[in-house]
Each structure stands twice: as C-alpha cells, then as structure tokens.
C-alpha cells in the first residue's frame, strides 16, 4: 500500500525545508554536540580538590607530615592555614572551606608516647553527599598515615587483605558513566524536538490542506517525514560517540554496528513521539514546549541517568519503565563501558522495538483522526 515515490517525495521535501531553516539545522546538528560538551564538563560526581583549611595547634614535624599526606592524596586542596580556633566557624559559614582539620596541641607528644593521638575534622554538611565522601577520604588518608607511623622501622603482615578490583570503569571516573548516558538523554530530547515541529508547521502554514487533498496516505506522510530525521539522529549518535571517546576519553568497548541498530530503534520511537506531539499541538510553539516537557525532565530524572532506579521510591520506579531512555541508557553504557552484545541487551532491544512501534502508531493514529 505504501508508495515509495510518495514516501521519497515527502522525505525530499522535508530535507529541502530543513536545509533552508537555520534554526532546525542548529537544533539537529549543533545542539546535541553543544549539550554533550556542556553537560560532559559540568556534571561530575567525582569529589576532588575539596577546599580544606588546617588549624595546626601542634606545629610539630608530625603534624606537618600529616598535612603533607593529605595534600599528596589529591583529594584535598589546602586553601588556608588558620591561627585560632575562632576562625573555623566564620570560614565554614562563608564557604571558604568545606573541611577543616584541627590538629590539637600535644599531637606529636601523644604519638611519641605511643598513646592514641586525637584529630578533629569539621565538615560543612550542607552538601551531605560531598561531606560524606570528604570524611571518607579524610579517614582513609589518616588511617594510612597512622599505620605508617605505627609500623615505622618495622614490618607487619596484616592477617587479611581485601584486593578490590573495579571493572568496566577502572578509574571510577563518573565521566565514563555520564557521557554514554548523556548520549541517550540528549538523543531523546533532540529527536522529539526535531519532529515536534514538522506536522505543526504544515498546519500553521496551511500546507496541510493541499497535502491532504493529494492521494498521499497518513502512513506515507509520517514515515516520509521520519526518514530524514532518522538519518540525522544516527549522525548525531555517531558524532556524540566520537566526541565522547576523543574529547572525554570514555572507553568504547562494544560493537559500533549494534549501537547503530539499537539507536535506530530508539530514534524511531522518539521521533514518532515527537510527531504525535506535533499532531496533537498543531502549533509549533506549543509542540516544542510539549516535546521539551515530555522528554527533558522525565528523561533526566527518571531514566537512571542521574539517580539510580533501584533506590527510587516504588511509584517513581514504576513510572521509570515508561521512560524510553531508561532502556537506551543501559544500551549506551553497556556498549561503551562493558562491551556487551545483543545477548545482554536483548531485553532492551525488545522494549525499544515496542517503543518504536508505539511511537509510530501514536503518530499515525493521531494524524489520521485530525485529517478526516
């Protein structure tokens, strides 16, 4: 029933229009790259260079050695040396430091006498996440340093040692997790936005009436409009993947072809969703806003990109199943970092086939109703 002549006539027209519309071109090609770079640099869950102040009331060789150990760890950046304990509170209040390490008088003396020496770490708890991590790092550095002091000149074999290995993201760099995730989030938003304009534009400019008076079918219009954007979407996926590897040093361990096939499924669904929104809204401004609303926050918050789905409350976890990027996120992270294949991503692939079918069906059904 589908005529390829009519299908390609629609696709060709859509491409010609796109080529002459700088805003759509920017949306199609510049925005994904820009977003990737922006978010890629801005979002980081690594805690490094914690602004740290030291109140050294001991002023001994030992206390200086401890401070050096702290600095050498790379997690702390020493911003101030305080003279009096009265300086601590104002400094934390104005955010001059996040952590203050207080070395009390008699620290070296206690160490020399074999007594347990006390230290105080005061942390700004207003960012609970960073505070916990900062305390953890402090604890680790101090522990390592104290065992070195205790063993000075001797050697001791600890009865048990745990040899931890981190797989897939050896440096535990959050960037490695963020960049592949971003590819999924960005493509969801861009794809829906791209097609949200196409049907609304025809209604707004009155061209829909002429289109409807020709023998072209709804499916031909929807598919014809989808094809060029599918091509653009795939180019965007390639571009952001290359950028992720070259600019952000994210490993790419899986099969690029598999990524393309799964991207194709995901994009079809997202583009269909955009077209559905376009058919509902009938105005370009409203359609863009709806597309943004329907994709941006839900994808960012509920896809598992920012927050782990397992730790969400049951209601949100249930909703997250409706967020298509949830499945594509598993795909991009899996292919980039773990190098897994279809044997692992099969479920995701099936769910994305369902999403693609639903997206297309919604677009065709809604479009059909409005033309009659």
């Amino acid at each position: 029933m589908i005529s390829s002549t009519r299908l390609f006539a629609i696709s060709r027209k859509e491409l010609l229009q796109l080529r002459r519309d700088p805003r759509s071109l920017a949306l199609a090609f510049a925005l994904p790259v820009l977003l990737l770079i922006l978010f890629g640099y801005a979002i980081s869950w690594d805690v490094r260079n914690i602004p740290t102040a030291v109140l050294d009331q001991d002023r001994s060789a030992a206390s200086r050695e401890l401070v050096d150990a702290l600095r050498a760890s790379g997690y702390f950046s020493l911003v101030d040396f305080l003279a009096r304990s009265g300086d601590v509170e104002p400094l934390l209040e104005r955010g001059g430091a996040q952590l203050v390490l207080v070395i009390p008088p008699g620290f070296a003396q206690d160490l020399g006498a074999g007594r347990t020496a006390a230290l105080q770490a005061i942390v700004d708890g207003s960012d609970a996440n960073t505070a916990t991590i900062a305390l953890g790092y402090t604890d680790a550095v101090v522990r390592t340093w104290s065992s070195r002091v205790a063993l000075r000149g001797r050697s001791l074999t600890p009865p048990v040692t745990a040899e931890s290995r981190v797989w897939f993201n050896e440096e535990l760099a959050s960037r490695n997790m963020i960049v592949p995730g971003l590819v999924a989030v960005i493509m969801m938003i861009i794809a829906a936005m791209l097609t949200s304009l196409t049907i609304a534009r025809e209604w707004e400019r009155g061209t829909m009436e002429q289109l409807a008076a020709t023998p072209v079918s709804r499916l031909e219009v929807v598919l014809g409009k989808l094809l060029p954007y599918l091509g653009i979407g795939l180019v965007d996926v390639v571009a952001s993947s290359v950028l992720g590897v070259l600019l952000f040093g994210v490993p790419f361990r899986g099969n690029a072809g598999l990524l393309m096939i799964l991207s194709f499924l995901f994009l079809t669904g997202a583009l269909g969703l955009g077209m559905f929104i376009s058919a509902v809204a009938k105005s370009q401004v409203l359609a863009t806003q709806l597309a943004m609303l329907a994709t941006f926050l839900p994808t960012l918050l509920l896809s598992g990109f920012m927050f782990s789905i397992e730790s969400m409350p049951p209601v949100l976890r249930a909703i997250s199943y409706l967020i298509p990027a949830r499945y594509f996120l598993v795909v991009t992270r899996g292919i980039f970092l773990k190098g897994v294949g279809i044997e692992v991503l099969g479920t995701q692939a099936l769910l994305m086939i369902a999403f693609a079918t639903a997206g297309l069906a919604l677009a065709v059904v809604k479009f059909r109703k409005e033309l009659e």
């Binding site: 390609f8 060709r12 008076a213």
Partner: protein, 316 residues
C-alpha cells in the same frame, strides 16, 4: 452525451449545532465550468471539502468521477485537482521543487515529469522564476503555480476554492483564460467565487445561502428570474437614501451599488409612477436625486435579491 462528473444528493454537514451545509443536491456535467456562489459562511468551502474527501459528510450521498465520497475518498484524490482558498504550497521551496514534490505525490510517471513541469512553468509564465523561492512570488503568480500543481496529474475534475481572491483584475482575467483552456481540454471545473464578473464566465451557477442551495441555472436564465422592475438612483446622500426608501410604498428592496442605489419595485408596480414618486419622497428628507433610470438586472442584483429572500447573509 455529457456524463456526470459530480453528483450530490441531500448532502449535509453539521458542526455541533450549526448546519454548515443543509440538504444540498445538484449535478455537474463533464466539461462544465460550474460556478459556486454565495456570501461568506454560505457553506461553499464546506461543500468543496466534502467533495474532495477532506471532510466526511454528516448525511446525504455524493459521487465524484463516479466514486463515492464517503467510501472512496482516497481514490477520488487521484482523479481530482484541488486548489484551496488560502495559498498552500511550500513558501520555502522553489517553484521547481514545489512542482517536483506534487508530481511525486500525484504519482506522475517519471518519464512524464519533465514534460509536465515544463508545461506548468509555461502555463503559469514562471519559466524565468523557476529557481526562486515560492514565497517571494506575487500573489497572482502563486495562484497560477498552485493551479499548475493541482493539474500536474491531468485530473478530469478540478476544484478551485476562491482561486482569485485578493488577485488584481489583470491577473484574474489571465487566470480565467487558464481555466477556460483547461475546460476546453476536457476538464470539468468546479469553482467558487465572490466576483460577479467571474460568475458570468461560468456555464452554470449554483447559488448558496445559509447552507442551502437557493438557485441553480445559467447566468442568462438567472438574470431573467428577477421579475421585479429595477431602478438605478443617483442621489446626494446614498446612505440616508437607503434608509429613506426601505419599506417605502411599492419598493421591495434597496441596496447600495457603488455610489448608486438599486431599488427593486414590487412585482406589477408601474415604473413610470415610481420614477416620479421616489424623487419627491427623497426630497422631503432633503436628499436631492441626480438621476433615476430603469435598468436591466445584473447578476449581482439577482444575487442580492435571492440572498435577501432567503434570510439575508450570515453576519458573523
């Protein structure tokens, strides 16, 4: 032996509680230039949309090119050309790109495309504008291109919904030459218009008001239906004169026609008596009559009279 190109019976379209088209029946013969007249809101566009498969009728039946408008709307679209009231080609595509696009949609065979394109360019006089963006063309040219795009597939029936609204008289004249050329080539043309001089070009006219078909005949016959004698009156203050004459004895209807008044007398009224009575009546109100002459009714007079008789135009 002329076959029927379009036929409708009791065609009705209801939007909510508004009857846009109310039990309309007519038939259009092949090769006919069929004019569809009526004030705004009369239901002309709604009728055309039902015939072209853009709207489903609420009740009644109809056929276009022998195909049922309810069940075969998709098939109908292959056999008709349609040009909508508002310009609806793609302004950001060039003339040639628009032609190529509609050639594709209408399934013009590949080997015929260049020929059809050149034919449209020549017919519309757009040969030198072929690479210009369609949005940059003047309205007259846009309309000719829209007509060209609607007949790329050489449809036997062409529907034109107010194709010349807003176009200057010279371009309008040229546009009608194209319509006549198409009709001479065997195309049935179904056209709605506001312009009376265009209505004169049609073989037959259907007049609609308030969703109903109120007259259907040739322009010559329609003119004869107006039996009431008609006077053209030139006065110093036409607006006040209309008020003064409304409901005056022997006067059936008054209307403004440009700077003059047209007064239709009641049937059987003596024209000469009215010619002397009306000026004195107006003089009482301080309106001077410059000239008062009996005239032949124009199509516009017929049109106005018929619309008045059927409840006047819908004012919205």
């Amino acid at each position: 032996m002329s076959e029927t190109a379009v036929e409708v019976e009791e065609l009705t379209k209801v939007f909510g509680d508004f009857k846009a088209v109310d039990g309309v029946s007519f038939a259009v013969a092949e090769r006919e230039v069929f004019g569809f007249l009526g004030p705004n809101g009369a239901g002309k566009t709604t009728t055309i949309k039902m015939l072209t498969g853009l709207l489903a009728p609420t009740s009644g039946r109809g056929s276009v090119a022998g195909l049922d408008i309810r069940r075969q709307s998709r098939e109908i679209k292959r056999h008709i050309g349609y040009m909508s009231q508002l310009f609806s080609l793609y302004a950001d595509l060039t003339v040639e790109e628009n032609i190529a696009f509609f050639s594709g949609l209408y399934g013009v065979p590949r080997e015929r495309r260049a020929q059809r394109r050149d034919w449209v360019l020549e017919m519309a006089g757009l040969g030198r504008q072929r690479r210009r963006a369609t949005g940059e063309l003047s309205l007259g040219w846009k309309q000719r291109l829209a007509l060209g795009c609607a007949v790329l597939h050489e449809p036997p029936i062409l529907f034109l919904d107010e194709p010349t609204s807003g176009v200057d008289p010279i371009s309008r004249r040229g546009f009608w030459d194209l319509i006549y050329a198409l009709a001479a080539g065997g195309t049935t043309v179904f056209v709605t218009t506001h312009y009376m001089e265009e209505a004169e070009y049609c073989h037959r006219l259907a007049l609609m008001n308030r969703g109903k078909l109120i007259a259907l005949d040739t322009p010559a016959h329609l003119r004869e239906t107006l039996r009431e004698p008609l006077l053209e009156i030139r006065v110093s203050d036409a607006t006040r004169a209309v008020e003064a004459l409304e409901g005056a004895p022997g006067v059936a209807q008054v209307g403004l026609f440009g700077r003059a008044l047209h007064a239709a007398l009641r049937e059987g009224e003596d024209v000469e008596a009215a010619r002397s009575r009306i000026p004195s009546l107006l003089a009482e109100k301080g309106i001077a009559v410059e000239d008062i002459e009996p005239i032949q009714p124009s199509l516009e007079d017929v049109f106005v009279a018929l619309v008045e008789k059927t409840g006047g135009a819908v004012v919205d």
